[in-house]
């Protein structure tokens, strides 16, 4: 843009003309003490709970402890810029973040400020980060599937739009990988009439990890429909505490406007830890594992906001995938049990499976989806029942098989089938698979077509079979996609196609 010096002068003069407007009137208080990211202030008699307050040097905070003598506020910025005796101003509004499609493709902090250097976000709307979850009458049962693109999850632990499905496991078991794959797989929905917009909330993670993740999303074209909310490990605890709520407000925009949203909270254990730190510094009484008494409410009020709306409200949905990290597989610790009880099921990831090469390391026995079944397409439902049964029988016999050298024929057959089932459920990262392809390969395995294939060749067989379907029998895949069921006729066609491929394999 070409602006001459005199034009700049005019611009400045017109702005300065307005300077001499009204007197600034603010309700103020005084900082009594400051430390550990928490300020105690006097005054601020009418401040609201969760209200944004302004300290000098552009540092903002949130009023949390409203006591008789003083107000405890947590700081979102550098507490070294605030000193005792400083004036603190009320802003009159609770913490709000910008929402809308303008945030897609952006990396923002929990206050909605851009962190990606792509310029300001010109969002037209804002929403308070703390909002009440919807009541019973505004909701509708979960009925549409949310495909993660992962065979083991979509077949046995299906997730529906509006569901809360916990991803739980020890460190380095692939929890974030599942969430990222789920986001990447939503790309296919953007060519349909019900696209899913995603929000990824990174809490307490290394900045390098987040940068890598954003690059991965960008490489897979997933950033176009995703917003990343970041509160790094180096950010103050209050920012880590509000990050999930901010992300949720951004996701609720899609839900409330008749669209579909998917939000990943990665992870809520770190948010709970940040909240514990904040609560202890605010001198709130500690309870079990030193967490404050309201740590259950911390997560329940967040996860209750994920919902499927009724038709009157536009049928929008917000699906939540919270992540919890366990220590040494201990699911009975305080935070894991809390979140397990709040969510509609969990995907449990096992270290031994992960180290054994089963990736995603989903422990099918401990994982469950309480409401997703009704959202699953018929075709998948039909084959998943068989898959679950085969795997359950395999697990029972697997340990036994290690000791016995002579096995009867039926037991050996079950073990053979189980091993192949486990093999086809393995999937690489960042390569989500469409539902029809998942159905095709699981169908082939459950019909016993893989039983005589060498275990090492199963992967190769899977790739070849899917290519064969795509090139020569694409009508089968299309029919699964359009009808969502495997009719007898289609079953016969698929059997024929698989046999045909087997001959050439």
């Amino acid at each position: 843009m070409d602006i001459k010096t005199n034009e700049i002068g005019d611009l400045l003069r017109s702005q300065i003309k307005n300077i001499n407007e009204n007197v600034d009137v603010n309700e103020v208080g005084e900082v009594l003490e400051i430390g550990d990211g928490v300020a105690r202030t006097s005054g601020l008699g009418s401040v609201m709970s969760s209200e944004l307050v302004e300290f000098p040097n552009n540092v903002f905070g949130m009023a949390l402890n409203l006591e008789e003598e003083n107000v405890g506020a947590v700081l979102f910025g550098d507490s070294s810029l605030v000193k005792e005796g400083d004036t603190v101003k009320r802003t009159g509004k609770v913490v709000e973040v910008p929402v809308g499609k303008e945030l897609l493709g952006r990396v923002v902090d929990p206050l909605g400020q851009p962190m990606d250097g792509k310029g300001p976000i010109n969002a037209k709307e804002t929403l308070p980060i703390e909002r009440k979850a919807l009541g019973v009458m505004q909701r509708f049962p979960v009925k549409e599937p949310l495909q993660t693109g992962l065979k083991s999850i979509d077949s046995m632990i299906p997730i529906g739009r509006g569901q809360r499905e916990l991803i739980i496991g020890d460190r380095q078991t692939g929890k974030s990988a599942i969430a990222i794959d789920a986001i990447i797989n939503q790309k296919s929905t953007h060519s349909s009439n019900s696209p899913v917009y995603c929000v990824y909330v990174a809490v307490g993670q290394k900045a390098s990890t987040v940068a890598k993740l954003v690059a991965e999303l960008e490489a897979n074209g997933a950033m176009e429909y995703t917003t990343v909310v970041v509160a790094n490990a180096s950010d103050p605890a209050p920012l880590q505490y509000i990050a999930p709520y901010s992300g949720c407000a951004m996701g609720e925009y899609y839900r409330d406007n008749g669209m579909h949203g998917l939000i990943v909270y990665d992870d809520l254990s770190k948010q709970a830890t940040a909240y514990r730190q904040m609560s202890l510094v605010l001198r709130r009484p500690p309870g079990r594992e030193a967490f404050p008494g309201d740590v259950f409410y911390l997560h329940s009020r967040l996860l209750e906001r994920a919902s499927k709306l009724s038709e009157d409200l536009g049928s929008g949905s917000l699906t939540a995938l919270p992540v919890i990290e366990t220590q040494e597989g201990d699911v009975s610790a305080y935070i894991p049990t809390n979140v397990i009880s709040i969510t509609d099921g969990q995907i449990y990831l096992d270290t031994n499976l992960f180290n054994g090469g089963v990736r995603p390391a989903v422990d099918v026995g401990l994982s469950v989806s309480r409401v997703g079944g009704s959202a699953q397409i018929k075709a998948m439902k039909k084959i998943a029942g068989k898959l679950r049964l085969d795997l359950a029988q395999f697990r029972e016999l697997e340990a036994f098989a290690k000791f016995a050298s002579d096995l009867d024929e039926s037991t050996a057959a079950q073990i053979t089938r189980g091993r192949r089932m486990v093999e086809i459920l393995k999937q690489n990262q960042y390569v989500p698979m469409t539902t029809e392809k998942q159905v095709a390969i699981i169908y082939a395995a459950s019909q016993g077509y893989l039983d005589d294939i060498e275990l090492e060749s199963v992967k190769e067989f899977e790739i070849g079979l899917l290519e064969h379907f795509e090139s020569k029998h694409s009508e089968c895949l299309e029919e699964i996609n359009s009808s969502g069921d495997i009719s007898d006729d289609l079953g016969k066609k698929m059997n024929k196609a698989i046999e045909e491929f087997k001959k050439s394999f």
Partner: protein, 180 residues
């Protein structure tokens, strides 16, 4: 801690019960402030009153001699009890609590006026009278100077800050121009 709060309440309530006019209040408040500042600034006075080896009677007679002409009777009596009970450490909180209680009782507003230059007494009177009329309360006013204001005034009435300083206006203009 709780014991101290109880004591602070008792002492401040005693003082509050005794003040019935704005002038009384100012007298007691100034007396407390002066005593507090002399304790803070003069180590020998502080050590004398806090000493456990000096007899409390001796402390009280000396205190009475020193302040009986400059302090109201009720304040002297209350402070004597404070000295006798070795509660000198609580004086700051007693003064704070007393101010809060009297503010409610006598309908007083605390005003702080900050200007960029020292004001003369006429200007101060003008501001005091206009403010008192405007907020319909008796006012306890303090005048301060802050060169950073550049021009204009900052007036703080209790918890509300009226800011017409040039410094704030320029800062607001800056954020508007920069678009932050």
């Amino acid at each position: 801690m709780k014991q101290n709060l109880k004591k602070i309440n008792i002492y401040s309530n005693l003082l509050n019960d005794a003040v019935n006019s704005f002038d009384d209040f100012i007298g007691v408040k100034n007396g407390l402030d002066e005593f507090n500042s002399s304790l803070k600034n003069d180590l020998s006075i502080n050590t004398f009153f806090k000493s456990k080896t000096i007899d409390s009677k001796e402390k009280m007679s000396l205190f009475e001699k020193a302040v009986s002409n400059s302090m109201s009777v009720i304040l002297v009596e209350v402070l004597k009890v404070v000295i006798e009970n070795n509660d000198i450490n609580l004086l700051k909180d007693i003064a704070k609590n007393f101010t809060l209680l009297s503010k409610k009782k006598l309908n007083i507003a605390f005003v702080e006026v900050v200007s960029s230059n020292e004001m003369n007494s006429d200007q101060k009177d003008d501001i005091t009278n206009s403010l008192s009329e405007l907020i319909k309360k008796k006012i306890d006013i303090n005048f301060n100077v802050d060169k950073n204001l550049i021009g204009g005034l900052k007036i703080k009435v209790d918890d509300t800050l009226y800011d017409s300083s040039l410094q704030t206006k320029l800062e607001n203009a800056k954020s508007k121009l920069v678009g932050v």
